[in-house]
Symmetry: D2
């Protein structure tokens, strides 16, 4: 369970950051979808380190192999196992970290839980685990595009308080991919680039907000109680490394509004009611209403910084963690495909669940 998610579109990820490979198994994908390694690789490349000078330079090509579940370019309905070999197993680079707990990493909590941890790298807590999610989500993307036309798109909304101005209804993938920051507002992107460069020089790191929309979502997805769509989206987003907050629609801003301001008026539409505003963020009572699903995820500044930090050894002695090697001053650009992956997996699962009980 720990490494699986979804009720019908069920994804299990595996792999330590410095073991033999990382990957995933997608169980429950419908048969007869077109699917190739290129489809997967495209999203993996967006997630990969070393794409620009803004992100971590770990040297991985992250080349995916589809091991099962696909024959003659189409899914079989059987589990789709996918594998990405780890190349950059420089565990020596982590030797000095094996005997102490890096602050705000999962080193101590992993040992508290398991009594052990992978000596090299972050084990399962590494962002490298998200390779499996992104690969699985590329399958979900194909499913949703082919069966119901849903489109999921995320972008960097802010970094360290520098906020973009983005029209969530019209922003495109090209707008997002144009700049290495994945911030589609050019002015904000320039400021963000400068802030990230400064943080790198300063040995520090920055957090920010990723926004995400799901468009053309049919009404009726999500469940009314524990599996509300926004609940499953919150879980999926908050299970990404470094997330500290989640909002749907109006989010925390709703708490300063009155009901009269916040309620979304209904008007007749061609295929059922539409709303004139979207404070609901596309969900009402846990179920999609046909409007665009809109959410935001807060990412903390990366825990790896290039400055000495106060910490404790495995033997319980106070010590100082000296900074060594490269660090990634801002995960936000790479977080964009991760947030999309989180959203895609939830939507694919609820899409299949709704197929099972749909009236008519």
């Amino acid at each position: 369970m720990a490494s699986s998610t979804g009720a019908l579109f069920r994804v299990t990820t595996f792999g330590e950051s410095h073991g033999g490979a990382v990957g995933c198994v997608v169980d429950g994908c419908p048969p007869q979808l077109e699917l190739s390694e290129d489809d997967i690789q495209h999203d993996l490349d967006r997630r990969r380190p070393g794409q620009s000078r803004l992100v971590t330079q770990r040297d991985e090509t992250d080349t995916v192999e589809i091991v099962s579940g696909v024959d003659a370019g189409h899914t079989l309905g059987s589990p789709i196992a996918m594998l990405v070999r780890n190349k950059d197993q420089r565990s020596g680079a982590y030797d000095h970290m094996a005997e102490l707990y890096r602050p705000s990493h999962a080193d101590w909590t992993t040992e508290a839980k398991y009594g052990t941890r992978a000596v090299a790298g972050g084990g399962r807590a590494s962002a490298r685990e998200t390779i499996g999610r992104v690969a699985a989500a590329a399958v979900a993307r194909k499913l949703l595009a082919q069966q119901c036309g849903i489109e999921v798109l995320a972008w960097v909304e802010s970094v360290h308080g520098i906020s973009a101005t983005v029209d969530a209804d019209t922003v495109t993938l090209d707008d997002v991919e144009r700049d290495p920051t994945r911030c589609p507002d050019p002015e904000a992107a320039a400021l963000i680039t400068e802030a990230i460069e400064n943080a790198r020089r300063d040995g520090d790191s920055l957090g920010g907000v990723v926004s995400c929309v799901a468009r053309s979502v049919p009404p009726g997805l999500g469940e009314p109680v524990f599996d509300k769509l926004e609940a499953d989206l919150a879980r999926a987003v908050m299970s990404l490394p470094a997330t500290k907050g989640f909002e749907i629609g109006s989010g925390f801003g709703a708490t300063a509004m009155t009901g009269r301001e916040h309620n979304d008026p209904f008007v007749p539409g061609p295929d059922g009611p539409r709303t004139t505003t979207n404070n609901s963020g596309g969900v009402q009572g846990g179920i999609t209403n046909g409007e665009t699903v809109l959410l935001r995820a807060a990412f903390k500044p990366t825990a790896t910084i290039a400055s000495p930090q106060q910490t404790v050894t495995r033997d319980g002695e106070a010590t100082t963690l000296e900074a060594k090697g490269r660090h990634d001053p801002c995960v936000l650009p790479r977080a964009v495909p991760m947030v999309e992956a989180a959203v895609l997996l939830v939507l694919a699962d609820h899409w299949l669940r709704q197929r099972a009980i749909a009236p008519g």
Copy 2:
């Protein structure tokens, strides 16, 4: 699945707001815990409408019956079914609503999903569904108190922008319960009371923020990937009616901090490392680190207001929803036990999961 949650401490709720009864089944509770109907009733009474003039006046005593799973005052290890009869089945009060969709309620989305809905009340989308969660969580509270000493406490942090000053480390249940607002800061409580009264008179409604702590949580609870503790907490909180946002620890505030500011330094402690700050909110990499778990939930203003609203009939005609009857201008005081319930159910489940694999 739709109405169940938890892997080992598994809770299923049932019941429409105006059907025969609401309730829950708790499957997986360990045997030999002391448990009585009084334990359950105490938390249900905190959730109940009509406790003060600040909350909805629906006339329900919400008296719980334990139907199974308890014998001679102790749990048997078998499913604990609990039932609360609905008394206030005034479905006539809803007649005028049966043929239109109330804005920002789940009327339309429920019909989009199921092709039908309970004609009276909000069906499963009603806050009345949370009776089952609160009853189940009262069992979780006993389990956690008896087996590991965890204490969960929530309070109203803000209403409509009026924010309380609360010391999360020292605030007590008595502090919270002293005022009908469940805001433990007397000055803020007075302002909030006034704001709620004004909203009632104005036929409007207000949202706000509930904060919640879990104290004395042992390190090691939570899983490193999809079932991170913060992910499961986010899902649980975001599955409560009217929630729009979730934060753990530093939350969205983290996005304006640098890594150097945000990282929580480790210092030696008697039972393992402790941190000198708690931006992590008690979890690192999805697993508790022994510090207090701290989270916040954003509640939108209640959708039911006493003002005319633009909407659409089931036949797709534009119409106006005329306000009738009582409305609840602010759900926040009653949301406090709901948030506690969400947190308790997650912690009980992860507590049992950790027992299964704990080293040593």
Copy 3:
């Protein structure tokens, strides 16, 4: 989990044999099915003790109440909770059993597992638990009849070696219900009646075999690996009290056949291939092939007998269990609706699962 089954048509049962009530929650039933308490009661009445002199005389009417999930005679898509109050709580009759372990009952194993057990009756191990299953299965029966025309029918195939001659293709519900034995072969039924009467007089008990068919099952239900239809059927049947064996199609008889004898030849049919024999029992590789599903369940003789038996007290002392009160010499007639229930729940679940991924 312990008391739940099914992935999409999810059933949780609850209730001790001598507690307040027994019942179930069905979560995941599609909306807009016609459903009334009469539908449920009909199957419960077939399961009920005291229907004839052949079965146990416990005085229960087993009247069901639908507590939720149904409105205006139709399912809502929300959890259907059903309750049957226990009337015959003569716990005094069990006083002498509280301090010892009845042989081949679950008294000792329940205590080994939980450290405690319900002092009266068999707790969850009682056949009374199957009330919840039969009630849930009555909903499954409606679903399957309405959505795909599946018919499930069981009968008594043998008791204590007295075997019936039954044509599985043509036997009807009327044939089965005509005789209190639920054996549709009148000659065998007469002999079985005599054997049961003799066993009763002798204070002894008898076992036997229940056969069950599912007719008009569409091809494609079941999964190729762990959730093979025959695997889920085996689990469902073997989770009924007192079962010791399960067969599908040729069963153990297959082990004395050769491949040439056993393989079912295909011939063209109007809607796909048909087979000229049915050694497969309607499933090939875990998936239905459009032929009748045919299975058998072995029930041991009831553990409660009216003879002194050697056993052990809770304090570990050797003792003798003296027989008192009534006993049920043969559970087979009442096992018939239980086996149907087991099969119905599995088929309903796989029906919904197939809807989620069905091609085209």
Copy 4:
């Protein structure tokens, strides 16, 4: 779900018989167990084709790679992914089968379910899928041996009606492995060898019975209702390819016994009650009682035979399947490690489940 099993010791298998690889992911294995590829390989070698002239000659070494979850010879608590590359991808050998349905194989049912199937080999329905189960079960074997001393051992009980005489209490792994038949009774083994050789020459195939014991099982494993140990064992065994029947303890033989004969008398033992007979097969009411768990599985004769057979093409035309190439006249010797795997996975899961709620 289709390819996953277990609640806490959760196993997912993947891979088509003629795709890139087969394998599994084990999620939920406790940390700090010793585990090496040799441990896995040992059980895989027992399952492998080509071990003797009695079994299929497909040329595979079935060499396992542990891809994740193990570091420095010990489990980490994270998912253990294991991979076995397919070498013998002679899909040409299956060309003539692509356009027709092999009788009593899963060709037609797979197409009925998915609208497609892997053109080479049996896809997921191949016995090759059990590589993943056997690999996962080797981990379960280590867990059970290390944490509670459980030993699981299976053997060939009969082939085509030739039955062995075996003392289930004393038979050892050496006794079983001594003969290629895996029948520990030398006289029966000789007759079985002859029967298999005859079947091979005759182009025919034979079925039989595998028996399995689990020794030193602590009392208390299994759940009282749907997840009875015997129910989960039945599901696991009946999900193996070619199984048609399952028995626990007295099995179908119980149906000819009376309660007085069948009940297992209790006597005092050093650690709780023991029984003087074991008709219960080690489980009472779904829960282990501390006696040896004893079960039997019926395997049909292999569907692949070297004789012409009547069948139907994908276009619905009657045709004859001409026999070509090698066939495996009896799967029983290789079924022995498969049955052990089924039992080991169930016991490992229930062992962890019991740890979560164990009293005291």
